[in-house]
Each structure stands twice: as structure tokens, then as C-alpha cells.
Symmetry: C2
Subunit: 672 residues, 2 copies
């Protein structure tokens, strides 16, 4: 604090939704001075049931993996509703029954077996934010400042390559309005909270609302000087406008309504995820925790041009009517409705993700799409999960600023893929079923199922495959040519074909060498900021292989190796940039930990040997055999070394002899 009104921070996060909070988890964990502001006063709170506060979310299994790396994935997994099977229901001429009667056309597994130890799930956004908050509080004193509206943002172009706080922002302190949201819904008494205020069917009224309140009461402002600013401020992003990023893409004419209810119904599949495609329109059912389901209902009873739709024509009753028409002959009603909204499907991506790699955009601020695929919150959190550790490394002075370019490369690519997926998915869903094989405009069942199955893998987050960069060493292809990468360092994918460079490392069970406890590999990769060097030492009872491990360990122990060259000197949060995890393939009971090189199980004069670094691909007593080597495609008589990023994506694969490549790889990231 320099004067009464000027604060200096390393990172200013604008917006305290899931993407802003996920960013803060990294910064909290790694000890970066951070400020979060939000213009709204209503921190999402699962105890209250106001408006978007009960915005229920589909949780991608990748998100659960990320939560698990933060230590609360299992809690969320337990609390959430799990979705295992998708039921496709149709009315169409293919129907062998009476026409216009719904029949079950197909059952599709919701997450392909073997993809992950988690499956798709649904839970309150509020509960997820609760967990993120608790994590942030555990590791830092970062608090969210509510009622702060940004007014101006300036980047000092001369300072952008220095650490002299190149970004300045003015924030206005807003007075707390009594009924922020209720004023937006004057058609319902008593009002069922809705999400229209953030729907694209109506203009963004929030700013105006706050503005007028402020004219009456609030005048105080404060100035923030920041090294970095991240705009996590949603679809109507203020930050986006400041850096001149423009949303590019299309708006469709499809209008959908959303209804969150506890259903009273004779429809038998209401606890399955359903894709219903009837001659009266389409509908999706997403079952949730605590007896709730979310219905996505195609709205056909409105102006077909869509542009000038009267939003007052849509409400919970009209949505329920539409649902009943689609579901006929089944009936559905409710006594509990927590929330509803309506929106026109639009898929757009920001023209810029960053200005000077000093101001960044993330989440809805830089990509919007239909909520139906249940990806908004997930992709938004993944954006900042990608950015957070990189920012921390650069701010701490450990890594070169060029690391930050990889955020834009990686997440813009994902946003574009998301939009493409969403376009296909929405078209599929909003179109009408084909009448017969000659009906070119209708959607045929086979296409429907194919897109659904492929889409599902995408929607799980498991299909994310980052392009080559400074930190992804796979070969260039025509599709993913980029310039920012380490010359000459190309990972040897063939050594572990099923650990794809550029993707999250798949997880299989291995046993701790020292106590036989089975662990999913991912459980040993918490998000604490370290890189992992995973040594697949192979059959260490074979003297040749043991000698190779010893030579590898010797090379790592050399003063010139990356391990000794790049160290977080004096940092209390990280004792090393690297954690060496060994997984060998010999019989557990024939190997003694202490016969392996010391660097694989480091000694501490205070705590003795480290028993948590060496694992074995062997059978467990109670949980089967993980078959990690076979599943990864690694030859036990050869082994390999894998570099995994702090966010669990695979950077590089090489031989035990390729320590020079590892040295060059890290030399291009770390500051000398």
C-alpha cells in the first residue's frame, strides 16, 4: 500500500466466478500476492437460493481430476449426482409403435469405460465455489472484494517487459443494493429466481442498474497497480472491451429454455440423462443431486424470427407446458422449481486472449456457447487452471515470460474446438429428426448417436490435446505448427504410445514400493506447483536396467543438470521445481527401496528416507493389478522418462539416457 488509494498487487483478478477462483487457487498455493474483485455483492452461497446462485453445473470428469489434484475431488465426487447412461428417446416414422409416442431408441454409456476413474457428474455451482474458496483460504489470505466495479484500465507499453506494475486499474466502490436481482423479474410474484439477466435474450442490464445506484450513493474509488490482470468477468466482460478483444462467431435462431425442478412424473427415465427428440420438439434431461433435474427445452411457441422475442412470453409455466408436449404421453409437474432461464444459442470466441501477456481473458469473457453441453463452467476453470501456475512461475522470477504465450496458444485452440463441437451439438439437438432415409434436412439417428458419443469424449475434457509449444515437445504437424518451441527437443512418443504428449497423463493404479498401498498415479500428482519427472525404470532386477537407472540418477545428480541448476532459492512454498517419481516393473517383494539410487527416494537428516517416491506396477491385495506398463505401452526392458507439467499435461518423453534433452527443455523455460 503506497497511499490511501493505491494498492500494488502481483495479480488482479476481475470476477469471482469459477474461473476467477480457480486462478486464485494456484496463486494462493504458490504464494503470489493476489486481489480478486467482483462488482456483484452476492457471493455464491449454497445456503441461499437466489437467482444464478443455484446455477447447477455439469462437472466434466477432467474437472473432477483437477479438483482431486487440489485435494477435494473425492468430496465433490461423493456429493455430486453421477451420470452413467444416456437414454435417447424419439418419436419418428422409424417408431414401430404408434406414431408420436415416445420410445427408447438407444442407451449410451455417459463416459467411455477406461477413460478415467471419474465419470460425468452434476452439482451446484455454489458447492464447487465453496470448495474453491475453502482451498484459497487454507493457503492464503486472499479475499474477494465485492461491490468493486472497474472503471478504467491502462497498460504502460514501456513497462510491459519489466516487473514495474505495468497495468493500472481504477475501481469504484459500489453501495450494496437491497434487491439486486429481484428488480429484474417483475413478472413473477413470488418470483422464482431466473437467469434472464445474463441471457442473450435481454440486454446486459446489470451495469446500468449498478450505475444508477452508484450515482446516488457511491463515489469512492481506488487505484490498483498490478503486474498482471486477468479478466474472468463473464460473457459481458468489461476487461474484454478494454483490450479491444471482439467476440467473433454466429448467433443461431434456436431458443431454449431451462427449468430446474424436482419432477413429479410417470416418465420412467427421469433419473437418466435423456436426449429426447420428439415431433413436438427436443429436450434434454440432466439429473442432479438432491432429487432435482434440469430440463433443457426447445422453445417453439415464440416468434420464429427469434430476434424480437418477447421474453415475457417465456416462464416456468410455458416451459413446463412445452416439456409436457414433448414428453407425451408421459406427464410431468413440480412443486419445487429453483431456477429457470431462456437463451438463444450463440457460439463466439474473442479475437484476442491477451494484451501484451499482461492482461488476460479467461472463461466466458473470451468464449460463449450454449450451456447445454454442460461445459461452460468446466472450460472456464480449465482456462485459468492452465494460466495460474504459469503466472506464478513468471511472477516469482523462475520462468521466462515466454511461458505465458503458451496460455494463449493452448486455450484459444480449446475454445475454438469447443465452439465447433457446440455448433454441431446444438444443430443436432435443435434440428428435427429425419422422417426417413431420404429426408436430408432431418437428423438421422445414426449421426445423432455418433456425434453424441464423440461429443461425449470431448465434453469429458479428456480429448484436450495441446499443440506443440515451449512446453509441449511433440512434432509439428500441418494443423498445429507454432513457432514457440524448443529447437531440437522432440519427445519420443513411441516409448510410451499411450501417454500422449500434449494431453493429461492417463492414470493407472500402481503400488507404493514401501507399503504395498495402491494409488492411482494421478493421486500422486497434486497441484502444488512442481513438475514431475516420472522415471519408468522398467525391470530393475535386471542388472542392465538397474545400471541404466543408476546412470540416469548420476546424470541428474550432476551439478550441471536441470535439477541442480534451477532451484527456487529461499522460497518457502516449493523446495524444488521437480519431483522425481519412479515406477518400476519388477516384483514388489523382491525389490528393496534402498537398493535404488538415492535420488529416487531422497534422504533427509530430519525425516530419514522418503518412502513416497517409488512405486511398482504389480498386483495389489484388494484392488487388482493396474497393469500400468501394459496400459501405457511401455516396454519393461527399456523403460522411459516422462516430464509432466504442474497441471498434469505431458511435456516430453525420452530415454533414460536423454538427460541432455531434459536439460535443454528446462533451460528454455527457467530463468538462469
Amino acid at each position: 500500500m503506497q497511499s490511501e488509494d493505491v494498492f500494488k498487487v502481483d495479480v488482479l483478478i476481475i470476477g469471482a466466478g469459477p474461473s476467477g477462483l480457480m486462478l486464485a487457487t494456484w496463486l494462493a498455493r504458490m504464494g503470489v500476492k493476489t486481489h480478486i474483485v467482483d462488482k456483484r455483492f452476492d457471493r455464491i452461497n449454497s445456503g441461499r437460493a437466489i437467482g444464478h446462485l443455484i446455477w447447477i453445473k455439469n462437472i466434466m470428469l477432467t474437472s473432477t481430476q483437477i479438483f482431486d489434484s487440489l485435494g477435494f475431488g473425492q468430496d465433490i465426487w461423493r456429493e455430486a449426482n453421477h451420470m452413467l447412461e444416456i437414454r435417447v428417446l424419439l418419436t419418428a416414422s422409424e417408431n414401430p409403435n404408434e406414431e408420436n409416442e415416445l420410445y427408447r431408441s438407444d442407451r449410451i454409456v455417459d463416459t467411455m469405460p477406461g477413460v478415467s476413474r471419474f465419470q460425468q457428474a452434476t452439482l451446484h455451482q455454489a458447492r464447487i465455489e465453496d470448495y474453491l474458496f475453502r482451498y484459497i483460504e487454507k493457503f492464503s489470505d486472499i479475499k474477494v472484494e465485492h461491490g468493486r466495479e472497474p472503471e478504467s484500465l491502462a497498460i504502460d507499453a514501456e513497462k510491459v517487459e519489466t516487473d514495474d506494475y505495468p497495468v493500472s486499474i481504477t475501481l469504484r466502490h459500489l453501495p450494496k443494493p437491497a434487491t439486486e436481482f429481484e428488480t429484474l423479474d417483475d413478472t413473477q410474484k413470488p418470483a422464482i429466481p431466473n437467469g434472464l439477466y445474463r441471457s442473450n435474450l435481454v440486454a446486459d442490464t446489470t451495469a446500468g442498474l449498478l450505475q444508477s445506484t452508484q450515482e446516488v450513493q457511491g463515489t469512492r474509488t481506488e487505484k490498483i497497480l498490478a503486474k498482471y490482470v486477468v479478466g474472468c468477468d463473464g460473457a459481458h466482460s468489461w476487461t474484454r472491451r478494454q483490450i479491444g478483444s471482439v467476440m467473433e462467431g454466429e448467433q443461431t435462431d434456436y431458443i431454449w429454455g431451462v427449468l430446474d425442478i424436482i419432477p413429479i412424473t410417470d416418465f420412467p427415465d427421469v433419473r437418466y440423462r435423456c436426449a429426447i427428440h420428439s415431433t413436438s420438439g427436443s429436450m434434454m434431461i440432466i439429473p442432479r443431486e438432491n432429487k432435482f433435474v434440469r430440463l433443457y427445452i426447445q422453445v417453439t411457441e415464440v416468434d420464429e424470427h427469434g430476434k424480437a422475442i418477447d421474453r415475457f412470453k417465456i416462464g416456468p409455466e410455458t416451459l413446463l407446458q412445452a416439456a409436457n408436449k414433448i414428453l407425451a404421453p408421459y406427464k410431468m409437474s413440480y412443486q419445487h422449481c429453483h431456477w429457470w432461464t431462456a437463451y438463444r444459442i450463440g457460439q463466439r470466441v474473442g479475437s484476442k486472449f491477451s494484451a501484451h501477456e499482461r492482461v488476460f481473458l479467461a472463461g466466458d469473457a473470451v468464449h460463449t456457447h450454449s450451456p447445454k453441453a454442460g461445459q461452460g463452467m468446466n472450460i472456464s476453470m480449465h482456462d485459468t487452471y492452465n494460466l495460474g501456475w504459469k503466472l506464478a512461475y513468471v511472477i516469482k522470477g523462475w520462468a521466462n515470460r515466454s511461458l505465458l504465450k503458451t496460455y494463449v496458444i493452448e486455450r484459444r485452440q480449446i475454445a475454438k474446438e469447443l465452439i465447433e463441437f457446440d455448433q454441431r451439438f446444438s444443430r443436432l439437438f435443435s434440428g428435427r429428426p429425419a422422417k426417413d432415409i431420404m429426408d436430408k434436412e432431418g437428423i438421422d439417428l445414426k449421426t445423432f448417436k455418433q456425434v453424441f458419443e464423440k461429443g461425449n469424449l470431448f465434453a469429458s475434457g479428456c480429448a484436450v490435446d495441446y499443440a506443440p509449444s515451449l512446453i509441449i515437445t511433440k512434432p509439428h504437424t500441418a494443423q498445429n505448427a507454432t513457432s514457440s518451441r524448443v529447437p531440437g527437443v522432440i519427445g519420443k512418443q513411441a516409448l510410451a504410445p499411450n501417454i500422449p504428449i500434449g494431453m493429461r497423463i492417463p492414470s493407472h493404479k500402481v503400488l507404493n514400493q514401501s507399503d504395498a498401498r495402491p494409488w492411482h498415479l494421478q493421486e500422486r500428482l497434486p497441484s502444488n506447483g512442481t513438475w514431475r519427472v516420472i522415471v519408468f525404470g522398467g525391470d530393475v532386477l535386471n542388472p542392465v536396467q538397474l545400471a541404466r537407472c543408476a546412470a540416469f540418477a548420476k546424470a541428474l545428480s550432476s551439478p550441471d543438470s536441470f535439477v541442480n541448476r534451477y532451484k527456487p532459492k529461499g522460497d518457502e512454498r516449493l523446495s524444488s521445481f521437480y519431483e522425481i517419481i519412479t515406477i518400476h516393473s519388477s516384483a514388489r517383494e523382491k525389490v528393496d527401496l534402498l537398493t535404488l539410487p538415492d535420488i529416487f527416494h531422497p534422504y533427509s537428516p530430519e525425516y530419514g528416507w522418503d518412502y513416497e517416491k517409488v512405486y511398482v506396477d504389480d498386483v495389489s491385495y484388494h484392488e487388482g493389478h493396474g497393469q500400468a506398463y501394459a496400459n501405457y505401452g511401455i516396454d519393461p526392458s527399456r523403460g522411459c522418462v516422462v516430464i509432466v507439467r504442474p497441471d498434469q499435461y505431458v511435456s516430453w518423453i525420452g530415454e533414460l539416457e536423454d538427460v541432455d534433452d531434459m536439460n535443454r527443455f528446462f533451460a528454455s523455460i527457467f530463468t538462469p
Copy 2:
């Protein structure tokens, strides 16, 4: 509250250790007015590291199952250290290596595969109490009153069969001493906390200590009038003395020391549970969470008569020396020692478990044994887990007081079995290894392993098999003849041979009929106070079987059935005494929930049909096939019905037609 000094409560719990807190979980959950007092001021707190506060406990897998039924088993399971393998190390003439050098003789799985989804684990007692506290706080306003020393207890014999508060207790308010424990350890500066004050090597100094303090400052007393009093006040139980229960059994000459350290060692098996039997003595290693291990070390360097042992001769250094002698040629040292103690092994059971079924004893107050088998805390909690729901049912006026007799029958039996087990186990452990096959006094390796393996099942808690009683309908045998049981109601064990009447219901995975989610059956049996009627309906696609289910449902729905005859009228905590859970064996996708009888999935005008009561024994997408019918030994073309107690023990098994037996069974428990 009648006057300033007289309080009326339903239950007074004396002692806030694990057994007292476990009792309070039931009473909190079921809404019973309860008071807990403890003379000590130091509520166990995992944040502090004083004395017995870090008394680390082995967690029986049965305890984990109980915790799971309370909603936090998974948290404890995740936090705990898991023990998978026991290593037996010996020095003996059988040793093919040089004599007196330790060699690995055997590896034994620590929990037989298939017994449970949990295995043995270790965790801070403090953490376990934290979870129990949090649960009690969630469901009630029960608080622990610290610094309350009981002074007198009287039972009004004329009132014992009435609810007119037959027990009165006077409690003295103690002033808080500054250094309650440090005064007990004046040999160590700075002191390593120890547990000698509760060891049988020294007299119970606590009372005297508190007494003298109190003479200076504290004089206030209060009177409690209670319907029931439960003494959970440990090995030196005050309550036990009041009701004239005498500890009966033997005290051995074996002396053992306990040391809790982070080991610095070249002994390779230190993270396994080890049984070490060397010519220099015996030792057990129990690995714990957070790098700690607990060593149980046979102390041989003391007066061999044992009776007059000078406790100042035992300390962490002497224990470490003894350990090193046993472990030779390996070496062990430490920089962190959290706790140590020493004790003489004694196995004793109280002559009375109750006075008039108005005052009860539980836990260490009524059985003591060596802590080495890691069962003290577990069995103590199981005592009150058995008692709590029964007390609640009787206090609420739902059940006859005769239900309380089953506590004494069941837990005295377990205490005796525990003592027998402990005697064999301790003798085995404290004896010397046999020199050769002619050495009758030594313990031979085969016996050692056998006792260990059998003992392990016992130690897991899974071998508990309650005798026939009012609530256990198995046939009498010579061993377990009791008088208190329902005449003529004998469970038909043959219908489900692997669901033994008298034991905890084993758990297998089944799928929710309505959403295909796999659940372990036990996960659907939370400890909320209800009995479960588990309907194994068999193949409900077979019209014969479906008709039997319908007839069963009709009989249950009759006004004369137990379901309609015994209801908790107006009680806000329980809407019914019974939960009907159906598990059928037909293909999931061919069955529609609504084709099954309504009582199997009850309808609510507010919430619609209940989707959480019907399960299916079918293959899951991601977690295999539970094969529940095959594992339970149930014939799908016949099925059966199982009555499970609120504490998950099996009461009765019968045919779908045996509703009359069920009526008679419940009629003998419930008040009309």
C-alpha cells in the same frame, strides 16, 4: 433446568473419549437430550500435540464401516495410513543366514481380500474425535462440559422401571489447571509427552492431582437427574466403582514400551506392519500417517518380577536402545518423537456391564487389554455404537426396556472374546521363538502365523457374531443359549447363507435401478435410526416372482402389518422405523421402476416417486458386477427378505411370505 443447580437429561455420558462421543452420535442424530461431562480439560485436539492427544489408533475396518454409515468414513479412510501387508521377521535357528541376523520369514495380507471394501488403517485418535465432534454438532447442540468430576451417583430402585429420572449424579466443577500433564513427566526437559499417567505401571495420579487443585479453588457442584447414565470413563472408571463392577482377569509379567517416532533407519520394511521376533526380544511396527510409525517394544532390561518396576528406568532413549538391539544389524534413530509410554499387559473384564439397565459401562471402563492388537479404541466405540440406538428407541418410548438387555448380552460376549484373543496374541508376541521342533516352550513359526491370520480377522471386527436374543433370531446352540428372545421366530439362514444372522451385513455392489449408479449396499444403510427391510425380490421379470413381490407388498401395506402398526408418531427425526430397500436380479434395462409395487418406491405429492429404494444386481459400466445374489448365496428364483438392525447387524431372514414372523419379531421389540 429445575433450579440453579439441578439439570434433567435423558442421558448423561461420563467421559468424552471415543466411546462417549460415539454414543453421542446416535443420541444427537435421534434427538435425545444428552449431556457429556469429562473431568479433563484437554479436549483432544489434533492441532495440539500434548500427551495422549496424539494417541494414534489402529482403525478396524469395521470402525471405518461405521464411520461410513455416519458419513465420514471416506474422509478418515483417505486421511489414514493403510496397512496392507504384515511382514514377519525372525532370528532363530531356522535362519539359513548367520544366526541372530534378522530375516524375512513371511508376508501376510493384513485384511483378507473380499472381507470388506476397507482395510485396516491408522490415524490420530484426535482426528477421529474431530470427526465425531463435527457430526454431533451437525445434528444437535450437545457440547462436552470439561472439568466436571463426578462425586456421587445414586439409583432410585423404585423408579428404575419408570421414566422419572431414576439416576442422580453430583458433579463438581473443577478449576482449570495450567499444566495438567507436564507435571506428570519431570524427567524430560523439554518433555516428550507420554502416556504413563494412564499406564498400569503407575497409580492413577490424575484424581489426586485434580483433587489438590480443586481444594484450592473449586467448590461449586451441580446435580444431574438422568434417565440413563453411561460410564465411558476409561480404565480407572469412577462409574464402574459406583455400581460395584469389579475387573476380573489376569495381569501378566510382560512389559512393553511404546514409541511414536518418525524413524530414520536403514531397516527396509519400516512402512509395513512388522512382527519382529528376535533373540533380543520382540517388537511390532505399526506405520502411521504423516511419516510416523509406532513401535511396540518388549522391555527386557527391567526387574524381571515386574511388580516393582521403577518407571524412571523407562524412557524414549531406553526404548530406542531396546529397539535397536532387536533390529540389529539395522539401525534406527529419530528427530521427532511425539509420544511414548510403557505398560504391563493385563486382560480383564468387568463383572457387571450395567446396574438395572439404568447405568451402563462401556469401553475401557469395562474391559482392558494390551493396546498392541490395536483394538481398544475400536471395541470401545463399538460398545456404544451398539448401545446408542437402543437407548434412543427406549427413551423415545418406541421400544421396550428389554431391548437394553441385548447390549449387555452382546458386548460382554465381545469383551470376553477380545480378552481371549488378546491373551493368545500377547503370549505369542512376548514369548521367545522356538529354537527347533523339540523346543516346546518357544513359539513355533507355524503357530505364530496361524494365530496372526486368525487374529487378524478378529481384529478387523468382521468376526463379531452376536448370540441369539430379542433381536438376533438365529437358533440356539450350546454355546450361546440365552433366554431373551422371541419364541418361535427363527430366521431362515439357508435362504442367504452368506448373510449370517448375528453379523454385520456384508456389502456388495448393486446398481440403482433408476440411474445405473453403482453403490456398495452398506452405503445405502446410513446410521439414521431406521431398521432396514431388504427385499431380495429375485427375478422380477418372472411373473411368479413378481406376483410374490406384489403379495409381500400387499401384506406390508395391510393395517395390521408392523409397518402400519408401529410408527414414530410426530417425531421429526424419523418418518418411519423401517426403510424398505429392494434388490432384484433381473436385467436393469428391462425393468421399469413403476412396474414394481408402490411401497418399494413410495410416492410423495411433494417430491414424486422415490428413486433411491430399488436396486439391481447387474453389471455396471465402470465398476464391474457386484454379483450380490451369488455372493450372498441367494437363489434369484426364490429371493428372501432380510431384517437389518439400525446398526447394520442382521436380525432375521425369511421368505417373502413370512410377514407374520416379521410382525411377531417387531411386536416383541416395539411398544404397542
